[in-house]
Amino acid sequence: MHTQLTDTRDARETGVVFASSVATVLAALYWISRIGFANPVFPVAYSLGLSLFLIAAPLWMARSTAWWGSQSFLTIACVVLTMLLGMVAESTGLNAIPIIALGGVLLAAITLLRWLGKGTPARSLLFVFGVCVFAVWCAGVIWGSRYKMPLFWETMSYKANIHHDTFYYASMANMMDTYGVPSTGLDGIPLVRYHYGSAWLFDQWSHLLGIDVLTFYSLGYPLIVLPLFFAALLQLSVELGAKLRNDWMGWILFLAATVGFIPTVALNALAVWNSNAFISESYLMGMPVFFLTLATAVAFYREKKAGRSALIFFILFVPLILSALGFLKISMMLLALAAGGYIALRDRLYRQPMVLLSALIALASVGITYHYVSLPAQNGGISPLHFMRYDAREGWQQFFPLIHLLWTWVYVGARLWEERIADISSLRSSLRQHKLTDVEILLLVAILGFLPGEIVSIHGGSAVYFSDVQRWLALSFILARSPVWLRVWRERRPSRDERTTESGVRGWKLSTLLMIFVAAPFVVTLFVNLAQWPVRAIRANITTRHELAQTPREATYYPIVTALRDISRLPESERKQSLLFIPQSNRQYWSMFTADGRCTYTPLIAPGIASVAMLDGMPSAGCEVTDQYNMTMYQARKRPQLPEDMSSERLCEKARAKGFKEVIVLEAPGQEIPRRRRIDCYLHTS
């Protein structure tokens, strides 16, 4: 094995132990949260197995220092492989998940045992314990809001108190699955523009795991994507030099940056949104790929080997990964392009024809991808300092650049201190000598990520998905550099003998006591933050159980949800040629989101659950329809639905116009059990 790989093996193993521990704890908590309900073990076990495979397998597969043999590239490859296996499972019925899951568990277990054997048991166990506590916090964040939850179907059936974003993604995933078209399927399947890559990927993974897309969002996504995100972040940090094991300062900073050391309300007030990072599937899937891409690029850069390997990297990998990033999260593609472009300019790589060609292909690839994934409605036009003004709490906006980009400033400040750069001229000199390329890249990502939200109005605070990237990137860089900083600090501070002459209590330093006194509230807050989200998730779970126990099924949305799920179980060949029509008179369905004023999003539920597009599925005429979520692709209802609109002839006419042969009608006037009726539009033409 190459020296580079051997040197970093322990750190890589630490990263794997960290991520696999998070995945395991999340799996256990999911299963525990469902005790008392239908709680099959296999979906949880397979999800965990797949997660462990993606985390641990690349470690064992990495055998070369070439970029294509790097752990990071192999992780991307494993993602692609499992995605392909999902496609195979769907089309052939041959599912490799038992092998993948078993392999994942075995490799993770071996990694853990090897890792435990290398360190002192107490420290290793303390680390694993700490990771488990952190994983509980992760579980709280990801399951503590109404986006995803272990009792997803139960909550949906009881009061439909689920965030509509989940159905937006699920509807796109289902439409791609059923019809092969990215659409939300509210009235036929018009093509939508959005970064639907994660929805498509999750659809393939849900096939592999044998679960529906919505269950995947609450089970598979947290168990697979969140640990993968941390695995990727740590891989990048290792690629940049992190030691990870026994790096207590690095891990304290890691905790502070993720959990927060000031109260969550204050973090929210300054638009440092912890929950958003974990809730947004596209963001959380885009970021690991972004980090793995950077790590692969670092591996490539380190090796600097010309030839076929470089050719493949520049001509194939770079354009493809940029496009993939665009489909996962448009912000990632743009930031990665900017970072790559900067390096090419900074190191004058453009003088190499191969790089120039790569840049041209990459630009074309990004341009085409942008066309497919950019949703014009999200751009609210020029609005100076929009994100800072409207998404930071009134009165606190001036702190936004300082706090929102805090970890970037921490890294930049510490690097300047490390390099003893105290003035502009020494900074200039260091820049000229390329001593601060890492700082430049981070600042570039920070500034470019900061700008979109401050120039244009991006709907729903989504500017955070540009500006927040720097936090995680900075964290990765900090983890990589923290051992160096600690060493330099120890070297630079005066020796103990010079510092104090007294011993015992009298020798205690007042500065240390002051530091403890000042740091104590922040430490306490960190622990409070650690508990806050899990407590919220537990409370929500208990409340749902309590409410379900007290409410008869017929008084809930259980019948309509069951009817929609039954439709999703129809053969795909049948669904493929059908549209679903739910008359406006079906109050059970159309009232699902009205309790909290979300009538505009109700149509997303049916395609999200039933995996069939709707026909005439826009909300009632009185409902104010949003211009987001690709709703403008459809015509808003201008008048109440009439009996003529619901006749079989009229429905078939509409269905045929959209290229469909069948209409499934779901009727349920009042609180009755929904009745499913099938209209064969061939018969109606004859």
Binding site: A266, W396, Q398, P401, L402, L416, R506, V524, V528
Partner: protein, 701 residues
């Protein structure tokens, strides 16, 4: 001291001007405004002039020549003068306008000679900016307002504190009794020093006590508060170098706040309460001046007192001046007396005063007086027992609890850290050594005041967040000491070099805090203006109101006096308030034997105050507006009464008022028992207007 006096004077003038501007469109007689400014200028500048006149040529200053001592004497003399002229046929308001102007011109001339043009402009501009902020703070909430009376008439939405304290002040002015005057004038144990002071100052500023709370108090006392902190710092500095950057920076940060107001509020560090609580705003400068005088005394006489070489005057200083000062503080704000006595006791112990029997005796003497004063000023209803973490539970969101001590005691901690740094203390051992050698007595006293001040809120239930008035004292003490020592505690700032990355970093980090200060400085003034606009808007005719969008920009459109007056006259409270104001013009000697009775059936009166639960305070409207006590003035039986504001001293109504309760015999019987011989019954006339309806002359027989 000259720049402090000039700055404080500018703040007083700005406050007076803003009061006048805020009343454009409403009657705004100039004399009360000018005389309030005049009194403020006298209180600020006269001690400076006298201290300079009394200054010895060798630069040494005995405690009785010190600015702080002269300040205390001036305040006492002005208040005493107010008390003397309460019934004088001559109005002294104009005299104080002239006196104040002369004093200010003398100080200004002295200062202009010493300073450069640029510095002069900067100080006046900064003081005006600061004055605008203080105006916003004091008038930006419903406690006090330039349009207080109009608010009372227009919608009855005023804070009951203003009404209740004015009632107390009026009873002190009319009957010389600390009472709320709801049913006669029984004594109320309360720190009634400021209502008494304001009653006296209202006599020389040509305004009623209630008006003084809105105009006189802000203009005269708020500049004294902030000026007092600065004056304390200047006196404590004693020849040490100043710090051109950090002195104003610390002062602005400590007053306006370094982080946004919402953040400070969340941490229980309140910026507006300083000025809302009149007793606190008076107690801070009074306490600091008292401390400065004591320090001055101790510097000169301390060794002599401890070494058996003290004179009788020295002991008299401690036994009379210090003890009397603490007692006076108790009447102004009880928290100051308690902490002041504790600090004095702690200092006495630390310097070994207990080894000297005269000092021990003085200590006992002081303790007796403090105990006696405590009984006289502590309202039994306020002693509500032990409730752990009461202040935190009531006023600080739980997520911020861990930061409470750090932020609440921030300025004390900063002072302590900088002083220890100055003394080169690095370890616990060094600290112990410094304490042993008594080199950091200032640090010890600040720490003691901070810890003792923060304790009540942690342990006791003190109504309405008043634990703040214990825990906040350390802020002004430590800020004063920080300002005094800024020259040695903090580095002298040289012209920053923006070629240094550290400078750029510091500026970058400091920038949001600087922006916060600027935003904080307009936070309260904007609130004040908005409230002013909203009231004017509500008074305008409905047809015109519809075309004016209420907001700051609409202010110029809302100044028509005819329309505003018509709006006021149409308001529900206009008639009852106006008829009570007419009664206030009754001569004092008549008022003294008169009581007012308002039957419970007169809902127009009993509903003047409109805030939720305001019924409990409706009885205070008569004493506060007329200066006359009520009889049988407790609210209706079904009204939920607060135990505070002296309400618990009067008998709670247990049944509805009956016709028999309102007969002339019953009313007279009650009036005579309470010490009055005349009762005016107020009620609706045949046209439904509230006015004096019946007059009962009662004899003692």
């Amino acid at each position: 001291m000259l720049p402090v006096a000039v700055g404080s004077s500018v703040v007083a003038i700005v406050l007076g001007f803003i009061y006048w501007a805020a009343r454009i469109g409403f009657p705004a007689p100039l004399l009360p405004i000018m005389s309030s400014i005049g009194v403020a200028l006298v209180l600020i500048n006269l001690p400076v002039i006298l201290a300079r006149l009394l200054q010895r040529r060798d630069g040494e200053t005995e405690w009785y020549r010190s600015y702080s001592f002269i300040w205390l004497i001036t305040l006492s003399l002005v208040a005493g003068f107010g008390r003397l002229v309460v019934e004088a046929p001559f109005n002294f308001a104009s005299t104080f306008v002239i006196l104040g102007a002369i004093a200010f011109v003398i100080v200004l001339a002295g200062w202009v000679r010493q300073t450069s043009f640029g510095k002069a402009v900067l100080l006046i501009a900064a003081s005006s900016w600061f004055g605008t902020w203080t105006a916003g703070v004091v008038w930006g909430r419903i406690y006090k307002s330039p349009l207080f009376m109009e608010m009372l008439i227009a919608n009855g939405i005023v804070h009951h504190d203003g009404v209740t304290l004015a009632a107390l002040g009026n009873m002190l002015r009319t009957y010389h009794s600390a009472s709320m005057g709801l049913d006669g004038v029984p004594y109320m144990a309360y720190h009634w020093g400021t209502p008494w002071l304001f009653a006296q100052l209202s006599n020389i500023t040509s305004q009623s006590v209630l008006e003084f709370y809105q105009l006189g108090y802000p203009v005269t006392m708020i500049p004294l508060f902030f000026g007092g902190v600065l004056a304390f710092a200047v006196q404590m500095r004693r020849g040490r170098p100043s710090n051109g950057f950090f002195v104003p920076a610390i002062f602005i940060c400590a007053t306006m706040g370094l982080i946004p107001v919402t953040g400070l509020d969340a941490l229980g560090v309140w910026t507006s309460n300083l000025t809302i609580s009149e007793s606190y705003a008076v107690a801070v400068p009074f306490g600091l001046m008292l401390l400065a005088t004591v320090v001055e005394f101790w510097r000169q006489r301390g060794d002599l007192v401890l070494n058996d070489k003290a004179t009788l005057i020295d002991f008299a200083f401690l036994a009379l001046f210090l003890a009397g000062g603490l007692v006076a503080l108790g009447y102004i704000k009880i928290s100051f007396m308690i902490l002041g006595f504790a600090a004095a006791g702690f200092a006495g112990l630390r310097v070994g005063a207990w080894r000297r029997w005269p000092l021990l005796l003085i200590g006992v003497w002081m303790a007796i007086w403090i105990a006696f004063t405590y009984q006289r000023v502590s309202l039994a209803a306020h002693r509500e027992g032990i409730v752990p973490l009461d202040f935190l539970k009531a006023f600080v969101p739980q997520v911020w609890w861990p930061f409470f001590v750090l932020t609440q005691l921030f300025w004390s901690l900063l002072f302590i850290v900088l002083r220890l740094r100055e003394e080169n203390a690095r370890t616990i051992g060094d600290l112990v050594e410094l304490i042993r050698k008594r080199r950091i007595l200032d640090v010890e006293i600040v720490a003691a005041v901070a810890l003792l001040g923060i304790l009540p809120g942690f342990v006791l239930h003190i109504d309405g967040g008043s634990a703040f008035y214990f825990s906040d004292i350390q802020r002004w003490l430590s800020v004063g000491l920080l300002l005094a020592g800024a020259g040695t505690l903090l580095p002298q700032l040289r012209t920053p070099s923006f070629r240094k990355l550290a400078t750029i970093g510091i500026v970058f980090v400091a920038l949001p805090f600087a922006v916060s200060i600027v935003r904080n400085s307009i936070y309260w003034p904007v609130k004040m203006l908005k409230a002013n606009v909203e009231l004017r808007h509500s008074l305008y005719p409905a047809a015109e109101r519809a075309s004016i969008v209420p907001g700051l920009r609409s202010l110029p459109k809302l100044t028509n006096s005819t329309k505003l007056e018509a709006g006021l006259k149409a308001a529900e409270n206009y008639n009852p308030v106006n008829s009570l104001l007419q009664l206030s013009r009754m001569p004092l000697d008549e008022k003294r034997h008169t009581a007012i009775f308002v039957p419970q059936s007169e809902t127009k009166y009993w509903n003047i105050l409109k805030r939720p639960s305001a019924c409990a305070f409706s009885g205070f409207v008569v004493p506060s507006l007329t200066g006359i006590s009520m009889i049988d003035g407790m609210p209706a039986a079904d009204c939920h009464l607060s135990p505070y504001y002296g309400l618990s001293l009067f008998e709670k109504r247990t049944r509805p008022q009956t016709p028999e309760d309102m007969t002339a015999e019953r009313l007279c019987e009650r009036a005579v028992r309470l010490g009055f011989n005349r009762v005016i019954e107020i009620g609706a006339d045949p046209e439904g207007r509230i006015a004096p309806r019946r007059l009962f002359e009662c004899t003692h027989s």
